[in-house]
Every structure is written in C-alpha cells, then in structure tokens.
C-alpha cells in the first residue's frame, strides 16, 4: 500500500461524509416515519427517486437548481401527504406488516409510472454551474458540490432539530412518538400529526434524491439500492432514533468510502458486514431502545 498519504485518507474521509450525508437524510425520514407511525416505508426509495425526477423535470422546464431545492421537497411532500391520507391511514391498527406491504406495492407502481413518463434509461443530472469545480480544504482539493451536500444536510438537520425541540408542534410529535394514546387522551388529533410527519419524511427523501442526482445520475431503479443500505443505517443506528440515524449514516458513508480505497471489491459488502457485527454485539443498534421492537 505505497503512496497512501495522510492527505489521501483525509480526502477519502470527506468523500465518505458526503456520501454519508445522503444516507443520513434518507434514513432520518425513514426513522421519523417509523418512530411516529410504526410504519416501515418501503416506498421511501421511490420517493427519493421521484424527488430526483421532479428536479430533472423542473430544470427541463427552465427552472434552476436553487428553485428545485425548495420546490422538490414541497411537491414530493405533498404527494406523501396524499399517500398517507388515502392509502396508509385505513391500515392503522391492522398489524405492523400491512403498511409495509402496501408501501412495497406502491413502490412498484411509482417506479413503473416514472418509467412510463421518462423512459427506462437513466439521465445525467448536471451539477449547477456555481457548484462545479473543487476547493482546497487544507488536505487537498475536494469537489465543491460534495461540500455543498454536506452543508445542505447540516442545514436540514438543524432545521429539523429546531422544529422538533423548539416548537410546540415538535413537542407533540415527540410526545406522540413516545405514547400516542396519552397524546390522544390529551385532546390532540394524532392522525393529523401522523399525516404531517409522513409528509415531512417523504419531503426529506425527495430532497435527498435531488441532492444525490448530480452525484450518480437519475434512473428509475435508484431507490431500490439505497433502501437496502438505509436499512443497514437504521439497524446500526437504532430504529426510530434521529441521533442514531445521523451517526450511523455518516459511519456507513465513511466505511463505504474507506473500503473502496483499501479493498474496492469489498466496498458494497462492507456495510453489510458492519451490520452483522452490530447485530451480534448490540441487536437494538447504537441508540435503539431494547424492547421497542417487540
């Protein structure tokens, strides 16, 4: 392993953080929805993919990337609201598997609809001009767009944290995650809270899809792969824990990028090995409460 300098490793670490940022955004929506609604959203990858395609469509209409950063989460979130209201709500109280199965079927429908509208082949997604190029971050040159992804993720996390911790609605959400029955007894319309949480979760998924688009292009199947990887993130971090999703998301990103530096052929498998280790040592994940899943 000659030629492996400290700088190279540090750069790869940053690349891992940028990749991890996407995982964090994806997993946080998944975790938020699960923590509140106890619904494992198997269509989360499809919402992510739809986010990228909505961005693609808006830009083809003449919109710019900055507009997309606002419009995409709004549109995908609205779609998420409709899905919760029409499809998922009738299933509450019918066993934990049913919403999962429903969202799984829904992901097929969504992927196929996108195939009909945009075709089976993928599209490249141009990095916005301002964010092209690289900047010197002390250890070497690093693509500006990846830095932007890390920054945007931090902003979303901060906004989400402020929303959950500092607003009265955030308080209701946190209380509802802990004990929906008591919250209902106190006179809060829990089903409305659930609706909004599902909307926020899917909006973040759409946002993540848009951010990922310039990094990897846009294809209808892009959501399937990240879904499996996000499950690793949630298992490692602990289901329903936001802090766990952030930490585990970054960790998984770094693990992928480090193994692709040292053993490229193992990059895809490494995160599953990580999950296996966590399952053996601490089955509930870093921040998971033991017994939450029973």
């Amino acid at each position: 392993m000659a030629g492996l300098s400290f700088d190279l490793i540090a750069l790869q670490l940053f690349a891992g953080l940028a990749l991890g940022a996407i995982y964090v955004l994806f997993a946080i929506g998944l975790s938020l929805i699960f923590g509140m609604l106890t619904v494992v959203n198997f269509a989360h990858g499809a919402f992510y993919m739809v986010g990228a395609y909505v961005g693609l469509y808006l830009i083809s209409l003449g919109g710019n990337f900055w507009l997309c950063l606002v419009a995409v989460p709004l549109l995908v979130g609205l779609f998420g609201l409709a899905v919760e209201r029409i499809l998922i709500r009738p299933l509450y109280g019918r066993g934990i598997d049913y919403p999962l199965l429903l969202t799984f079927g829904l992901s097929y429908v969504m992927v196929e609809c996108v195939r009909i509208a945009f075709g089976k082949t993928g599209y490249p997604f141009d990095t916005p001009e301002v964010l092209q190029g690289a900047v010197d971050i002390g250890v070497g040159y690093f693509p500006l767009y990846r830095l932007f992804v890390i920054g945007a993720t931090a902003v979303v996390l901060l906004a989400l944290w402020l929303f959950l911790e500092k607003t009265s609605f955030g308080l209701i959400i946190r209380a509802g995650a802990r004990d929906p029955q008591i919250v209902r007894v106190l006179g809060v319309d829990v089903s409305r809270v659930w609706l909004i949480v599902f909307g926020i979760g899917t909006a973040i998924a759409g946002f993540a899809g848009l951010l990922a688009a310039p990094l990897q292009g846009v294809i209808p199947e892009m959501g399937g792969t990240i879904l499996a990887e996000a499950f690793v993130v949630t298992v490692v971090g602990g289901m329903g824990s936001i802090g766990g999703a952030v930490l585990a998301g970054l960790l998984v990103g770094v693990v992928v990028s480090m193994t692709s530096l040292f053993a490229p052929e193992m990059a895809k498998v490494s995160i599953f090995a990580l999950m296996a280790i966590v399952l053996i040592i601490r089955p509930q994940g870093f921040f998971g409460r033991a017994g939450l899943m029973s």
Binding site: T225, F231, V232, V235, A276, L279
Partner: protein
C-alpha cells in the same frame, strides 16, 4: 394473521365435513391437482414455472404465514439453491440428483447463516435485516465471477436426460420435464404437510399466536424460529435448484430484491398461512403476468396496483377468503 389449516382448529360440525377431509388429505389433493394440471394448462412451460414458484412460495409461507415473520430476503435462499445446483453441474460435472441435493443443502445453510443474524432482531426489524443480508448475498455472488459468471449469469446447465434406475427420462420434452419437476414438488408438499401436522408444527403456530405464552410453556422460541427459517430455506433451495435445471441458466437477477418481493406478493395473493394458498397465488400471479404482458410492457404497474388493492381490501388472499367462506 389469517386462519391456518392447522390441526389445532375445532371446526363446527355441520358443513365442515369436506373441510376436515381436505385438511387431512391436503398433500394428496395437492398431488392430484399437480398431476392433472398440465393437461388443462395450454402452456407447459408456464405450468412448470407455476410449480417452481409455488414451491418457492410454499417454503416462504412457512416463515411468513405459519411463523408470522415477514422475510424480505428469501431471494437469497432461492438463488443460492439455484446457483449451487448450477455450479455442481457446470464446474464439477456432478449428476443431476447430486446437484439438486447440493441446491437444497445450499438453501439450508444460507438460511442458517441469515437466520442466525436476523433472528436476533424482532418484529419489523426482521424484514429489514433479511432484505439487507440478501442484498449482501447478491453482491457476493455478483463478484464471484469465476464460479457464478457474475453479471452474465451462470450458463450451460445442460441436463438432457435423467437416468432413473436404468430408465432414461427425456428432460427436453416439456411434458416429461413437467412430471420430473412435479415429482419433487409433490414430495415437498408431503414433507410440508408432515411438518405442519407434527407437534413441532403446532409449536410454530403457537409462537406466531402468542410468543410469551409459548415461552412460558417451556418452548425455546428463538430456536423454533431459527429451525423454521432453516426448513424454509430447504424448500426454497429445492425450488431454486429445479429452476436452474428448468432454465438451464441462473441469471443474477434471481438474487435480486425483486425476487424476494415476488414471493411476498404470491403468498399474500394466494393467502398466507394456508396450505394451498402459495400454489394458488403462484398460478394466479403468473397467469396474470402472462396475460398482462401481452398487451402492455408495464405489467409491474398493474401487478403493483393489484397488490396494493389486495393489502387494502383483500388481506386474506384468494384461498384464505375461500376458506373463510366455506367454513361459514
């Protein structure tokens, strides 16, 4: 969970005579249906597919319907069976029976590996962990190009004829091929029926119905789950091995997450936790797929929509609903 055709039920006296009879002789009935099936089906190739996917769903249903755990990683069990059977023939030149045995063994051991990890988690976690682990298996087989052919799939599993104690059976002819595969599937039905009727089968359903109570009664719940998952792996491994012989190629897509999803759809459509449900589900699903793909390439849209409607309005599945009607 839907009602199972297990032996613990106490059916009411009047209209259930036929039901009692059907439950007691369920494997024989399945055998009879399978034997007559290709005579009424116009396409034998489709009939073979239904058999194989029905067997795959039968194995899956043991975990999903009877044990009550939703696995999204059964493609790994099915695919390992197919690959190991194929590798035994292509690379080692083993005879067909040894190859099938290798496939079954592959399904069993893969189920043991995945099971040991996934059983540590409970409830909804199980679906996520099994899906992630089967994705891992996909990458591993994808990268082992020398053995599996990687992206191109494993080619050249040519079995032309099958020697049966001196009797040479032509495996190219669709009809005889159907009956060779049917022999294995029927045997699997008898084994499955035996497992479900055994005391162990009752424990499986007890764990599904009330885990705490099963544990309090002195049963090792974790071991029961693991054992059931491994048994399921055997059935799926056999289905995979037969699929490899039937297609004479193992495509890498067999390990894809959609193959896991497919069996979930088939089992739910047919009726989870029922003995005939998986076979009915496979028949309806595959015939539907054939019909729909005649007039549109976007059959996934139709299939997905039907599945969503099924979950919303029809969760007992076709066979489950029929049973509920018949009992009333």
């Amino acid at each position: 969970m839907t009602e199972a055709t297990g032996s613990i039920k106490q059916p009411r006296a009047t209209t259930v005579g036929w039901y009692e009879f059907a439950t007691r002789h369920r494997a024989s009935i399945a055998a009879a249906v399978i034997l007559i099936f290709p005579l009424v089906m116009p396409f034998t190739a489709l009939a073979v597919n239904i058999l194989i996917y029905g067997l795959y769903a039968l194995g899956f249903n043991l975990v999903f319907g009877y044990l009550g755990l939703l696995s999204f990683g059964h493609a790994a069990l099915f695919g390992t069976g197919a690959y190991l059977c194929g590798v035994a023939i292509v690379h080692f030149g083993w005879p067909w029976y040894a190859a099938i045995a290798t496939g079954v063994l592959g399904g069993l051991s893969m189920a043991l590996l995945i099971g040991v990890l996934a059983i540590r988690t409970r409830g909804i976690y199980f679906a996520m962990v099994t899906m992630a682990l089967s994705q891992c298996v996909y990458y591993l087989f994808y990268q082992a190009v020398d053995l599996t052919g990687g992206e191109n799939g494993l080619r050249g599993i040519n079995v032309r004829a099958i020697d049966l104690f001196g009797l040479r059976v032509d495996f190219i002819n669709p009809m005889t091929r159907y009956y060779v595969i049917a022999a294995f599937v029927i045997a699997a039905f008898f084994v499955m029926s035996r497992i479900l009727a055994s005391p162990f089968g009752a424990v499986i359903e007890a764990v599904r119905e009330n885990e705490m109570r099963a544990r309090a009664s002195g049963y090792d719940v974790t071991l029961t789950r693991l054992l059931t998952f491994v048994l399921s792996g055997g059935f799926c491994g056999l289905a995979g091995a037969l699929q490899a012989l039937h297609l004479s190629i193992v495509p890498i897509e067999i390990l894809h997450y959609e193959t896991s999803g497919l069996v979930v759809m088939i089992a739910l459509l047919g009726g989870m936790g029922t003995f005939f449900g998986p076979m009915v589900g496979a028949a309806v699903f595959l015939v539907l797929e054939n019909l729909v793909s005649v007039w549109t390439v976007h059959w996934q849209l139709i299939v997905g929509a039907i599945f969503v409607a099924c979950v919303l309005f029809f969760p007992a599945g076709i066979w489950g609903t029929l049973i509920a009607r018949g009992r009333r």
